[in-house]
C-alpha cells in the first residue's frame, strides 16, 4: 500500500523539477541579464566565410568601426521576422552589419539571403555552433553592438522590432561613434 501511494507522488515530483528549471530559467533570462561579455573584447574566433569558403573571417575583421554582429539562421522564424529591420539598418542608415550564420546549411543560408536580401558585409559560417557558444548565444537571433576597438558594448536578444532599432540600437551606435578613444 505504501509503495502504491508513492507512485501517485511521481507527477508532483516531476512538476517540481520542471518548476525548478523554470525558476533558474527566469534568472537566466537573456533579455534581462546583460551578457557577461559586455565591455569585453569580442571572443577570439576564426570562421570560413559563408559567401566564399576560401576566405576566413575573425575577430580582427571587426575592428576599426562601430558595427553590429547579428547571429542568425535560415531555420529561425524570428530571424525572418527581423530581417527587414536589418535590411533597413544596413541600407537606409548605413550601419555595417556582420553575420554569424549559426548551425545552418550553407545552401539554405545562401538561398535565404538571395530571397530576403543581404544586409551583411560578410557572414561567418558557424556550422557546429562553437563560436556561437563563445559569444554566449542563447537562441537566434541575437545582435551585438561592437565598438571601434572590437569590444562588445551592447547586446539585444530576440528579433529587433523597428521601434527597438530606432530607440535602442541607433542611439547606442550614435553614442559609440561619438567616442574618441
Amino acid at each position: 500500500m505504501k509503495r502504491a501511494s508513492l507512485r501517485y507522488l511521481l507527477p508532483l515530483a516531476g512538476f517540481m523539477v520542471i518548476v525548478g528549471f523554470l525558476l533558474v530559467g527566469l534568472g537566466l533570462n537573456p533579455r534581462l541579464i546583460p551578457s557577461p561579455l559586455i565591455d569585453r573584447p569580442v571572443p577570439v574566433f576564426t570562421l570560413p566565410m559563408l559567401e566564399d569558403t576560401t576566405r576566413e573571417v575573425s575577430q580582427a575583421s571587426l575592428e576599426g568601426e562601430v558595427s553590429l554582429v547579428n547571429v542568425w539562421a535560415s531555420w529561425c522564424v524570428s530571424c525572418r521576422q527581423e530581417h527587414p529591420v536589418l535590411m533597413q539598418l544596413a541600407h537606409e542608415h548605413g550601419i555595417p552589419i556582420h553575420g554569424i550564420n549559426y548551425k545552418d546549411r550553407r545552401s539554405d543560408a545562401l538561398e535565404y539571403l538571395r530571397h530576403g536580401g543581404n544586409p551583411f558585409r560578410w557572414n561567418g559560417h558557424d556550422l557546429d555552433g562553437r563560436v556561437g557558444i563563445d559569444w554566449g548565444v542563447y537562441g537566434t537571433p541575437e545582435t551585438f553592438v561592437v565598438d571601434r576597438q572590437g569590444r562588445i558594448r551592447y547586446k539585444h536578444t530576440g528579433p529587433i522590432s523597428p521601434r527597438q532599432a530606432r530607440e535602442e540600437l541607433l542611439p547606442v551606435i550614435e553614442r559609440l561613434r561619438g567616442e574618441t578613444t
Binding site: 523554470l22 537573456p30 556561437g132
Partner: protein, 667 residues
C-alpha cells in the same frame, strides 16, 4: 472616464471571484446549502463586471482614447475599425482581460448547465474555477493593468503590430484562449471529484462534453494560427515548431488523450486516476504555455512585452495551481479502487495504447521545447532545438497512433479475439495500401516509401470508419433511418477521425511533393514551376488605409491556358515602418499556387518566391472536420438526457439537495 469605470469593474470582478472561490467551499465543508448556492450568484457577478471592463476597453479603442497607455501602445488614429476592435487582445494586458472574461464565461456556463450534478459537486467545481479566476485577475490587476492612464496623452498612438493586422489574427487568439481556458472546466471538475473522493462514471460523463468542447476550440485556435502563419509570414510554411506553437500544441495533445481516456472511464469505469491526472496535466500545460509566452524565458515569433515581475508571478501561479492539484492527486488518488478488467486486445487496450502514444509525443514536444532552457540551467552549454528534432521524433509516433485510431472503434469493450480481428481486417488494410500507392501516382506521377506509409495509415483510417458505420446499419431493414438513429457522439467521433485522415493525406503529399523556387524576375520575364508558367507583368504602387504597398502582378498560365493572376504585396506600415510581405495564393482542391514578393535586385528585377503546394487545402479541410466532429459530439442528446433525468429526480426529492431559484436556469 471609461478607464476608471473599467478599472473599478475589474476590481469588483476580482472580489466576486474571491467570494466565488471561497464561500461555496466553506459551505460544502459546513453543510450550509445557501453558502454553496451563492456560487451561482457570484459567478454571474464576476462575469458581469468583467464584461463591463471589457466593453470599457473596447470603447477606449473605438474612441481613440490615447490617454489609456494600452490604447496608445496598440492603436492609431488610422487603424481600421475591425482592427481597433481586435486590438483589444493585440497585446499582453488586453489578451489577459479576454482570458479572464472567457474563464468567467465558461464558469457561468458550468453553473447554468450543472443541473445534472449534485449541488456539492457543482459548488466545488465553480469554486475551483473561481480560485483560478482570482489568480488570473490579480495577475492582471497587479502586473498588467490594461487601464493604466498616461499623465499626458500622446497626440497619436503607436499602432498595432502590422503582423497582427490581418483577419486571421482577429480569430486566432480568441479561439485559442477559448481552448486554453475551457480546459479549466475538466480541471475544476477533476479537482472537485478528488476533493469529494467521488471518481465514478458519472463524473466522467459530466466532464466529457466540456473537455471535448475545449479540445475543439483549442484545435480551432491552433489551425487558425497555422493558416495565418501560412499566408502572412510569406515563407510558405504552416508549422514551425516554434516554442509558442508548441505551447498550444502540448495542451491539445493532453486534451486529446483526455477525451479518449474519459470515454473509457465513462463507459467502463477504466483508468480513473489516469483520467484525473490527464485533466490536471492538460490545464497545467495551458498555464505553462502562458508562462513560456509571457515570461520571455524562450525567444519566439510571438514577442509579447516581457517583464521579470510577470514571469515571477505566473510561475508562482503555476506552482500554486499545479503543485496544489498534484499534491491533492497524490493524497486522494491512491484510495480510488481499480476499474473494470479488460484484456490487451480490446477497446480499452487500444485507448490505453493511444493514450501512451499521445503522452510520449507530448513528452517529446515538452522536452524539445524546454531542452535549451534545461541545458542552460545546468551549465551544459547553450543550444537550440529546431524542426529536424521534432520531425524525427514526432512522425514515427504518429503512424502507429493513426493505425490505432482506425482500429479502436472496430473493437469491442473488454475483449476481442485477435484471430477474429485479423480475419476481419486484413483486406481493409490491403485496400488502404492500394489507394495509398495509387493516389500519388495519379496526382504526381511518382511516390516514395514515406508517402506510402503515411497514406496507407490515412486510407486505413477512412476505410475502417466507413466499415464501422456500414456494420452498424447493415443488418437493418431501413438503413437510412438507422443511420439517422446513430448517436451524435458516434458521428462526431467518425467525422473527427476522418478529418484526421484528410489532414494526414494533405500533410504527407505536401511534405513529399511541395516544390518551391526563389527566382529573379524582371518585368515580362517568366519562370516555370510544376507545369505552371509564372510571368511577372508589372510592379505597381498601392496605398492602403495605413500603409503603402508595392504590388506585383504575376500572371499564371498552364499549357497556354490562363489559370489565375497573383498579386503579392510588400507593405510598409506608416507608423511602425515595418515592411511586411503579403503573399498571394490561388487555391484549388488539388494544389495551392503561392507567390511572395521579395527584395528588389536592381535593374528592375525582383526576387520572388514561388510555391506549388499539392493538397495544401486538405490541411484546412481536415482540420475543419476534426473541429466539426468535436462540436457534433458535444451536441449528443445523451449528455442532455442525463441532465433532464437528474433534474426530475432532484425535483422529486426536492429536499435539501436542490437549491431554490436556479432550476429555471437549466434549459
Amino acid at each position: 472616464m471609461t478607464a476608471e469605470i473599467g478599472q473599478f469593474a475589474l476590481v469588483l470582478a476580482l472580489l466576486m471571484a474571491l467570494a466565488q472561490g471561497v464561500v461555496p467551499l466553506i459551505g460544502v465543508q459546513r453543510g450550509w446549502s445557501s453558502w454553496v448556492a451563492s456560487a451561482y450568484t457570484t459567478v454571474a457577478g464576476q462575469f458581469l463586471f468583467l464584461f463591463v471592463a471589457y466593453v470599457c476597453l473596447t470603447y477606449a479603442f473605438l474612441t481613440h482614447d490615447f490617454s489609456v497607455a494600452y490604447v496608445a501602445n496598440h492603436s492609431n488614429s488610422n487603424l481600421p475599425l475591425m482592427y481597433r476592435i481586435a486590438a483589444v487582445w493585440g497585446g499582453h494586458e488586453g489578451s489577459l482581460l479576454l482570458w479572464a472574461l472567457m474563464l468567467a464565461g465558461w464558469s457561468l456556463a458550468v453553473s447554468r448547465f450543472s443541473g445534472s450534478l449534485p449541488q456539492v459537486m457543482a459548488g466545488r467545481t465553480i469554486a475551483v474555477m473561481g480560485l483560478v479566476s482570482v489568480g488570473i485577475l490579480s495577475f492582471t490587476l497587479f502586473t498588467s493593468n490594461p487601464f493604466e492612464v498616461l499623465a499626458v496623452a500622446p497626440p497619436d498612438g503607436r499602432d498595432l503590430n502590422p503582423l497582427l493586422q490581418d483577419p486571421g489574427l482577429i480569430l486566432h487568439p480568441p479561439a485559442l484562449y477559448m481552448g486554453y481556458v475551457g480546459l479549466a472546466v475538466p480541471f475544476a471538475i477533476a479537482i472537485a471529484a478528488l476533493l469529494g473522493g467521488r471518481l465514478d462514471a458519472a463524473w466522467a460523463r459530466w466532464s466529457r462534453p466540456w473537455a471535448t468542447a475545449a479540445w475543439a476550440w483549442l484545435f480551432l485556435g491552433i489551425a487558425l494560427g497555422s493558416w495565418w502563419a501560412y499566408y502572412t509570414l510569406g515563407w510558405g510554411g504552416w508549422w514551425f515548431w516554434d516554442p509558442v506553437e508548441n505551447a498550444s500544441f502540448m495542451p491539445w495533445l493532453a486534451a486529446t488523450a483526455l477525451i479518449h481516456s474519459l470515454a473509457a472511464t465513462d463507459k467502463r469505469g477504466a483508468f480513473r486516476t489516469w483520467t484525473v491526472l490527464l485533466a490536471i496535466v492538460a490545464f497545467s500545460l495551458s498555464l505553462l504555455g502562458a508562462f513560456l509566452v509571457r515570461s520571455g524565458v524562450l525567444t519566439s515569433v510571438h514577442a509579447f512585452a516581457t517583464d521579470p515581475t510577470r514571469g515571477t508571478y505566473i510561475l508562482l501561479l503555476l506552482s500554486t495551481v499545479v503543485g496544489g492539484s498534484l499534491a491533492l492527486y497524490a493524497w486522494r488518488a491512491p484510495s480510488v479502487k481499480g476499474g473494470a478488467e479488460f484484456t490487451a486486445v480490446s477497446r480499452e487496450g487500444t485507448l490505453l495504447a493511444n493514450n501512451v502514444l499521445l503522452v510520449v509525443a507530448l513528452a517529446a514536444v515538452l522536452l524539445g521545447t524546454l531542452y535549451p532552457l534545461v541545458m542552460d540551467a545546468l551549465g551544459l552549454g547553450k543550444i537550440s532545438v529546431g524542426p529536424p528534432y521534432f520531425d524525427t521524433v514526432f512522425v514515427p509516433l504518429m503512424l502507429p497512433l493513426i493505425f490505432l485510431t482506425g482500429l479502436g472503434p472496430l473493437m469491442r469493450w473488454k475483449r476481442v479475439a485477435p484471430g477474429e480481428l485479423t480475419a476481419r481486417l486484413w483486406h481493409t488494410l490491403l485496400a488502404a495500401l492500394v489507394f495509398a500507392v495509387l493516389l500519388p501516382l495519379l496526382l504526381q506521377g511518382s511516390t516514395t516509401v514515406m508517402a506510402t506509409l503515411g497514406l496507407t495509415m490515412a486510407f486505413w483510417l477512412i476505410l475502417a470508419a466507413l466499415r464501422d458505420i456500414y456494420a452498424k446499419v447493415a443488418h437493418r431493414q431501413r438503413r437510412l433511418a438507422a443511420l439517422r438513429k446513430l448517436p451524435a457522439s458516434y458521428w462526431g467521433m467518425h467525422v473527427s477521425h476522418m478529418g484526421l485522415a484528410v489532414l494526414v493525406i494533405g500533410i504527407t503529399v505536401l511534405s513529399v511533393f511541395e516544390s518551391e523556387r526563389d527566382v529573379r524576375l524582371g518585368p515580362g520575364e517568366q519562370h516555370e514551376l510544376a507545369g505552371y508558367t509564372f510571368v511577372l507583368e508589372s510592379i505597381e504602387q498601392r496605398r492602403g488605409p495605413n500603409y503603402d504597398a508595392l504590388e506585383a502582378r504575376v500572371v499564371v498560365t498552364r499549357d497556354g491556358e490562363p489559370v489565375t493572376v497573383l498579386l503579392p504585396q510588400r507593405r510598409t506600415y506608416w507608423v511602425q515602418t515595418m515592411p511586411m510581405s503579403n503573399a498571394a495564393i490561388h487555391t484549388t482542391l488539388r494544389r495551392d499556387l503561392f507567390a511572395a514578393l521579395g527584395e528588389p535586385l536592381g535593374g528592375g528585377a525582383w526576387s520572388l518566391r514561388l510555391y506549388h503546394n499539392p493538397l495544401q487545402v486538405w490541411l484546412w479541410i481536415g482540420s475543419g472536420m476534426i473541429i466539426l466532429g468535436g462540436f457534433i459530439a458535444v451536441a449528443d442528446r445523451r449528455y442532455r438526457l442525463l441532465s433532464r433525468r437528474r433534474e426530475r429526480a432532484a425535483d422529486a426529492a426536492s429536499s435539501d439537495t436542490t437549491v431554490p431559484g436556479r432550476q429555471e436556469g437549466v434549459a
